[in-house]
Symmetry: none
Subunit: 226 residues, 2 copies
């Protein structure tokens, strides 16, 4: 779980880094708005702690941009700032921040808010199994079954199916699948996805079961919800 701290005061960065690392998070930091934007693109953190008053591009502006960008729309953002005025708080939240913490803040409360925001973003976390239609994936035992039939999946097929089942009903592009299943800086061909889709289908539909994976031509694939 990586958290990007966007803050220009080194002392504050260190305070946050210390607390976050104690909670087991990876921490990256950026001292100003421009670097923040680059860091978000490059490191794809799981959450951003964003100071309002930072050089170059303001926190508010960054937040607005993230919310407009399809790719980062759901990236959790907590705004941190010295401005405690109510109107500022309202503005911070309305611009799309997930939460708002005023300086000076208590580290324990900030950590609680971080946990709360992350818990929301990942409502599946904590769940030990996924169930879509008649397909069940046991994330603890790493076993998958369709109906009463146990399925044997290779590691990649497993991750692929999991990625699908965490996003049922969504059409996912090959690029999204490669990023999510293979990892972001892995170079493999687009066609590789096709092949694994085929293998997954083969196992999933061994009996005459209906195909739950829908091909959306020129876009990608979708695991059907119902």
């Amino acid at each position: 779980m990586k958290i990007l701290v966007v803050e220009d005061e080194p002392a504050m960065v260190e305070l946050l880094r210390y607390n976050l690392e104690s909670e087991g998070f990876d921490v990256a930091s950026a001292p100003d708005g421009e670097e923040a934007i680059m860091a978000i693109e490059e490191q794809s953190p799981d959450m951003v702690l964003l100071d309002w008053m930072i050089p170059k591009v303001s926190g508010i502006e960054i937040c607005r941009r993230l919310r407009r960008d399809q790719k980062f729309r759901n990236l959790p953002v907590i705004m941190i700032t010295a401005r405690g005025e109510e109107s500022d708080r309202v503005r911070g939240l309305d611009v799309g921040a997930d939460d708002y913490v005023a300086k000076p803040f208590s580290p324990a409360e900030l950590m609680a808010r971080i946990r709360a925001v992350l818990r929301r973003g990942n409502p599946n976390a904590g769940g030990e199994s996924l169930q879509i239609a008649d397909v069940n994936m046991d994330l603890v035992a790493y076993k998958v079954s369709r109906g009463s039939r146990e399925l044997h999946l290779g590691p990649t097929e497993f991750k692929l199916l999991r990625f699908f089942m965490e996003r049922p009903g969504r059409v996912l592009t090959r690029e999204q699948l490669l990023d999510g299943v293979w990892g972001q800086n892995v170079y493999v061909e687009d066609r590789t996805v096709d092949v694994h889709i085929r293998r997954l289908r083969k196992v999933l539909n061994e009996n005459g079961d209906v195909d739950l994976i829908r091909t959306v031509r020129a876009v990608g694939y979708c695991f059907e919800k119902a």
Copy 2:
């Protein structure tokens, strides 16, 4: 959008009701924990404003129960309470509340927090589907339906319809359509647009439905608003 207010002081309920209704929410209320639980089951609100100190079953306990219940795991909860101590705030958030507001609070800030929490819960709200007349386009699942009938569109028809539905009631020239749907440096004949319009019409009006695409002679086509 229905919000359940769980609060035992009538004056506070009225204050909240007034503010919420001004923002266009439906409001239900429950004076204690037991009634709250029933109200959640029966009315299935979209969000709960939960006072910590209420009779019978405490707010904390209700929150805990909701978080354990598969059915209500994702129901947004904002805790409201007189207790402003940091340890209480941490506890409120860690028990699974989506946000925490201490009394006395400013109505404007509470409303901003409500909007923020609802926005999160509904990441689909931000233009993930288009609806014009009885035609619905789901941009996440890539599914199009007219009335209750599902339609099958090829990639180009899909993009074309999307382009139209994003600009209902506007007459679009073939050139505009080619730029918008095909891309700006693609050379294809004008007639190609006609062909795709025809295919789109065919699918859209398979039943005896009225044609929503109006031909504007010597200009182009228009997707009718109503």
